[in-house]
């Protein structure tokens, strides 16, 4: 980052550093860390320095959509490639550049929500340490055709703090896809990512995060979404990689007619652990939110889902739904679910629920009776299990990209 950073930003970084140091480490008995593996928060093995692998090779490996509207490739939070065919009125550039070129615009939207779901300490660490990421600002009445595709590579024992700040003006539309990967399969890295998503009135933001880090890395991803009147936000998280991942996703519905979809597919195997915390916050009346999390667990893997729908006092006529489904592929995996509701308004429609199930013998029999061997039969069923969440992306290119990572994961599961 250059010396021309705006004063507000450097001040916030200093304050955040102090905040990080003053907030105690999460404890096993903290409600917001219930069932979490607190040991994963010991980052002492990450003292090495991130090395820079061959850029050309990483850029070549940064494959995704056939024709993205814009494409960025980051290595350890530095831009190593960018291309764009976006309209001129759209701002889409690295956060480092945006802080210099559009400091006021960034300040207006940067980390405005309070972290509610347990990671205040790591939110502060991110704020104190963030160097780069992507800033997207789509002005009023501008619709971006296609998707903005962002590859985040991490190498060696690196710790990165990628930040995605996505803002739409009135009646604007954009889709952003973040893909997190490790440059190699053996180096433990740490990603502490933050997504600021702000959908202006009557606008639409689709945000997809694909987490396919190597299986010795760790990730904390905090997502703050605000959806204004008549706007629609759709967030999708795919977890296939990392040894441990903690996803905290907050969605704040700020105006009547606001619509938020929160989707996730996670496929842990071996000893992988995914810890998912969600908060659907209905501030305004007449808004809609719908959460669907699908987990397919193999080996001795573990998931934690804790979700809360909170309806504020005046948020009448709220529609809010929350569903977490777990498919247990082995006897040794563990799925923990804690759905919750807090309703302080009248005339609301809310539901929450969580299920855990195994594939029945009759289901396997049906596929085997068609000649499909039991291993493939189980994988077909497991893949199919995730599809309804993927289909809710309602964009064939994005769905196919997500499915390619899902298929890649299944190909590694025996």
């Amino acid at each position: 980052m250059t010396t021309t950073l705006p004063a507000w930003f450097t001040t916030r970084q200093e304050l955040a550093k102090a905040r990080y140091e003053s907030i105690p480490d999460p404890k096993r008995n903290d409600v917001l860390w219930r069932f979490s593996n607190i040991k994963q928060l010991d980052f002492s093995n990450l003292s090495g320095e991130a090395k820079s692998p061959d850029h050309t090779e990483l850029i070549a490996r940064s494959t995704g959509l056939v024709k993205p509207a814009a494409k960025f490739v980051f290595l350890n939070d530095e831009v190593i490639h960018s291309q764009s065919s976006l309209p001129e009125n759209v701002i889409c550039l690295s956060l480092a550049d945006a802080l210099v070129s559009y400091p006021d615009l960034v300040e207006a939207h940067f980390m405005k929500q309070e972290t509610h779901l347990g990671s205040a300490k790591y939110s502060a660490l991110h704020e104190a340490s963030v160097k780069n990421g992507l800033f997207v600002h789509v002005p009023d009445n501008t619709e971006i055709v296609g998707s903005i595709e962002v590859h985040h590579w991490i190498s060696d024992k690196g710790t990165v703090f990628p930040h995605s700040l996505i803002v739409t003006g009135k009646s604007a539309k954009v889709r952003v896809i973040d893909i997190f990967r490790s440059a190699d399969e053996i180096s433990p890295g740490l990603v502490i990512a933050y997504n600021d998503i702000s959908a202006g009135p009557n606008s639409a933001i689709d945000y997809i995060a694909i987490q396919a880090l190597n299986e010795v890395s760790r990730l904390i991803a905090i997502k703050e979404t605000t959806t204004a009147r008549d706007a629609r936000s759709k967030t999708f998280i795919l977890n296939t990689g990392s040894a441990w991942a903690r996803n905290e996703s907050m969605s704040r519905l700020e105006g009547p007619g606001a619509h938020s979809d929160m989707l996730s597919v996670s496929i842990p195997h071996l000893e992988q652990e995914y810890d998912q915390r969600t908060f659907q916050h209905h501030v305004s009346e007449g808004a809609y939110s719908n959460l669907l999390y699908k987990n397919t667990l193999y080996g001795r893997s573990k998931t934690v889902f804790s979700g809360l729908i909170s309806v504020d006092e005046n948020a009448h006529h709220t529609d809010a739904y929350q569903t977490c489904r777990n498919l247990l592929m082995t006897d040794d995996c563990e799925a923990n679910s804690m759905p919750g509701l807090e309703i302080n308004a009248d005339q609301v429609k809310c539901s929450h629920g969580s299920t855990s199930a195994q594939i029945s013998d009759d289901e396997i029999f049906y596929l085997q009776a068609r000649g499909i061997d039991p291993v493939q039969a189980r994988q077909l069923i497991a893949r199919g299990y995730s599809i309804d969440a993927v289909k809710r992306l309602e964009n064939e290119d994005a769905e196919n990209l997500v499915l390619s990572f899902i298929d890649s994961k299944f190909s590694r599961i025996l």
């Binding site: 009776a369 061997d373 309804d388």
Partner: protein, 250 residues
């Protein structure tokens, strides 16, 4: 060339014997029907032939064109040429019909060999047209949200696509209205071949009006108690299963 079932006994895991010595030969080119009251063991017989692991064969053998398939896995039996059309087909959420049938066909190919997608869809669409199935069914998840009739039609579509040597249709007619029954029968009749044997399991003579069997067997209490020509089905329709209780069959 035949599907030969010899002195087949099978029990549930709790030891209850369901099949008590079934012997039946279905030569290639013939259609056999098995009728019988509820609980007689008809559906169990179909599942045991397909290899369902909830049933434990305790004696007897099943051979397919001379090859003993009794020890084969369920999927290996299917690939060897057995097809079971289910009475209650399972739903497979998230797996499209097209991908499901393609996976089943792919499972029959040598490793490394891929299905020609263009030829596959052309063939699939032609068979769907035969069964008067909307093309939208290719993208829909297998049996999910299908009506009873659509599920049965889908079973027949799979059967046609997989071209088995021996087809076992377990109460394919149950729950079908007459129009759906005619369509399903058209699909089954299109499969008739000197190289293929079929076993129809049904409660009702009605199915046999549309799919003419060469032989009819009556099953009761785990045995085949009577065999005959198509006229046996008419006799059952007329007299009901009570006539099996007459001294000759007791």
């Amino acid at each position: 060339m035949s599907l030969q079932i010899t002195n087949l006994h099978a029990t549930l895991e709790n030891g209850t014997e369901i099949l008590k010595g079934v012997t039946l030969e279905i030569p290639a080119g013939e259609i056999h029907a098995i009728m019988g009251p509820n609980g007689s063991g008809k559906s169990t017989l179909s599942k045991v032939i397909a290899g369902h692991e909830a049933y434990i064969p305790t004696a007897g053998s099943i051979t397919l064109d001379g090859q003993d398939i009794s020890e084969m896995s369920i999927d290996a039996r299917s690939r060897a040429g057995i097809f079971l059309a289910f009475q209650y087909p399972n739903e497979v959420p998230g797996v499209s019909n097209a991908n499901f049938i393609r996976a089943a066909l792919q499972a029959r190919l040598p490793k490394g060999e891929e299905i020609d997608a263009v030829a596959y869809y052309k063939h699939l669409y032609a068979q769907m047209d035969l069964l008067e199935m909307d093309r939208k069914f290719t993208a829909r998840a297998v049996n999910e949200g299908f009506s009873g009739g659509e599920k049965k039609r889908n079973e027949i579509l799979q059967m046609i696509m997989l071209e088995p040597k021996y087809c076992i249709l377990d109460e394919t007619d149950s729950g079908l209205d007459i129009d759906a029954l005619k369509i399903v029968a058209k699909g089954v009749n299109a499969m008739r071949s000197p190289k293929r044997g079929m076993l129809l399991i049904t409660h009702y003579q009605r199915l046999l009006d549309y799919i003419k069997p060469d032989h009819v067997h009556v099953m009761a209490e785990g045995y085949i108690v009577k065999s005959g020509g198509p006229e046996l089905a008419l006799e059952l329709e007329e007299k009901g299963y009570d006539f099996l209780k007459e001294p000759a069959f007791a």
